[in-house]
Subunit: 418 residues, 2 copies
């Protein structure tokens, strides 16, 4: 029989409620519980907690956690070519496992239970995700300058065999970017994704250099490039989207594709800022991501959510992107793209949620809990994190965290000594 959990006296939608979780789903949220619902259930005292949807991180490179703070305060080209790529070339599969552990720990601690990962040695990351109890859309990543033809073919085989997919892990076709995967290869990957029923995720319109080179090489913007190849539809999501033209926004909105904005990374690397107010006006589907730990330098979706809400108001009006809408960009909008019925506290949805400590000083007073959560709090207000009906953090403790930090420190020391 499915495990039952009752979140007792939890604050949701303006009132204290008892919420029933059966197995991995919210069974009763606003409907009153009956006596039978409590029978055999684990009762969790939530009288000091509010419930919030857990975060869905739409774009990251998890194992880059090992390179947090390794190179800062420089522009994207120099940062990638002189620091990140040469160091990444030294990463072994074991290192990737260590880095993924650190990243997933950091994500759980800041309330994230799902991430879209574009990186290498995906099997290690998939194993860590399974082990630590969260979800991921794991990229099978393609980049011509960084891969042998054999490695490319192996990736294609991997996708054709649907290797390693599970209840909590899905695979995604990920051409790295227009400047690393050419027209012909991009077309092949679009066909593959379509035939095998995969989503596509890529870096898009991140810097002005990318736009300029794309215009020179293909005579169109990156968005037009993808449209021309037939890749722009509701199965397509792109990270960054920092330099969309008005026409790009219109094309993108009409296609039903999802843009994953990463404002902290974009500002830190001087790439620009996404025109979020215009994007909202044009009806684009928008989600949020943190990008990797070496360009942000954290995986904190609460911080990203506040940042995009502030930028939206700066670029639009003070009324643009109210707190509750910013929260959706960090939760259900990302889940929805990946076909996951989650990111909301609602009956029938997957039981992914956070218990927020109402005794945290930044949640007091509480005129509007969404305002407090988006604008005032930070991740330290998260007491517990649930994914798929199971607690992955309780009382701010995650199993195995000491070992994960020890391994990460040792690995980083080896990496710089190499």
């Amino acid at each position: 029989m499915d495990k039952k959990i009752v979140l007792k006296n939890v604050f949701f939608d303006g009132a204290k409620r008892d919420i029933l979780i059966v197995g991995n789903l919210f069974e009763k949220v606003t409907r009153p519980l009956e006596l039978a619902d409590y029978e055999g259930a684990e009762i969790v005292d939530c009288s000091h907690f509010a419930i919030m949807p857990a975060f869905y991180n739409g774009h990251t490179h998890a194992a880059m956690s090992l390179l947090r703070g390794f190179a800062d305060d420089m522009e994207l080209g120099k940062w990638l070519n002189e620091y990140i790529w040469p160091t990444e070339a030294k990463l072994t599969p074991d290192d990737i496992a260590v880095g993924s552990h650190l990243a997933v720990l950091e994500m759980i601690k800041s309330g994230t239970v799902f991430f879209t990962d574009m990186y290498w040695h995906r099997e290690q990351t998939m194993r860590v995700v399974e082990e630590m109890g969260i979800r991921a859309a794991i990229g099978v990543t393609f980049a011509e300058p960084l891969m042998s033809p054999e490695a490319w073919a192996a990736n294609v085989d991997f996708l054709k065999n649907h290797t390693g997919e599970s209840e909590r892990v899905q695979l995604v076709v990920m051409p790295h970017a227009i400047y690393t995967v050419g027209e012909e290869k991009t077309a092949e990957l679009i066909e593959l994704a379509h035939a095998e029923n995969y989503k596509i995720h890529t870096h898009l319109s991140e810097t002005m250099t990318e736009i300029k080179n794309c215009m020179e090489q293909f005579g169109c913007t990156p968005v037009e490039f993808w449209k021309r190849l037939g890749g722009l539809n509701s199965n397509f999501s792109a990270a960054h989207c920092t330099h969309f033209t008005a026409s790009d926004r219109k094309i993108f909105a009409e296609s039903g594709a999802t843009a994953i904005l990463n404002p902290c990374s974009n500002m830190k690397l001087n790439s620009g800022i996404p025109q979020v107010a215009e994007m909202l006006k044009d009806g684009m589907k928008l989600g949020l991501g943190t990008d990797g730990d070496s360009s942000n330098n954290n995986l904190d979706m609460q911080e990203e959510m506040k940042t995009i809400a502030l930028l939206a108001k700066y670029l639009g009006t003070a009324e643009t992107l109210p707190a509750e809408e910013a929260l959706k960009m960090a939760t259900c909008n990302v889940a929805q793209f990946f076909g996951i019925n989650a990111g909301r506290i609602a009956e029938g949805c997957l039981a992914d949620c956070l218990l927020i400590d109402l005794n945290n000083e930044r949640m007091v007073p509480c005129y509007n809990i969404y305002s407090n959560w988006v604008y005032s709090a930070n991740s330290s207000a998260i007491d517990s994190v649930m994914c798929n009906g199971k607690f992955v953090m309780r009382g701010r403790h995650v199993d195995g965290e000491e070992e994960i930090l020890r391994d990460a420190r040792e690995c980083a020391a080896r990496l710089v000594a190499k």
Copy 2:
């Protein structure tokens, strides 16, 4: 005899050290300790901690903590006139004490030991600051539309009598803004500040509406207005400075005045963003503030520091405002303006500091501790806070926090019921 504290094995400047505090000062930081230094000292095991300067918040309205989340997602004029000012008019001195307690608790929890406060019922706030062990520059605030002539005269008397100044509290002359204090009254306050040796602090060039009205009324920018009245010098600091012209920046830099930037509030209220990259280039003295809890919506200087660092890179280049310089804007730059020898971990400086938990997942790995502290961490990495040689938070606990939160909740409930 002065109390001695040894911070044992604390990480500072690339190495583990023993740091000696005698009374309220750092006595030995990089010099090796001798046996006699440990005698009679409280030894604090810091083997998992790094030391960082505590934050100095250059601009806030502490007791507005009671209005956190009370009104969001609207522009400054509507927000002030329809929501904030009518509600503030109901605040009693007792309410101000409750709100100041909540604000100081929030500040300590996020590593701040000093704040510049512009508000009403200053005696209550001064008492709370004394009681909770931190520092403040407390405004004697002037705003013609909100004050009777008697209240104005009482403020002037208060300043002439230097009432309530102490080791940790100084008074500051605070005309609210150009649009609330006219030319004649501003000139009088400049003279008073000069005669009685006070600093001046005001809101300046916050919105385009302010600039436009100032141009119409006085035929000059707000910066030129202050220059014309002779108020612009090293004893002058201004909050916001969102809409400085190139000429304003030059005038301001030459005057030796300090600009206190509040980027989160400016974005949230759609006021604009301070041109921090140009300001740095023009050699302006820059500090940071959070503004009040109802326009930010928190008092977290770590968050403000990351935000200004990101904006600086967005507006300048990826090299603009490296982590260590951003930290200075949130610490010693503010202290320096107020003539306080603090905001740095250095011999002879006031012992105001933070112990940062190196086992916090966002401090791992640690290639560059300033990068981790500015870009990756959040306030949850602060284990302990010291002000003036005394711990005001240890192991994340602040004395009396439960009562402060209870009182704040009750007060907020009364406020909305009025």
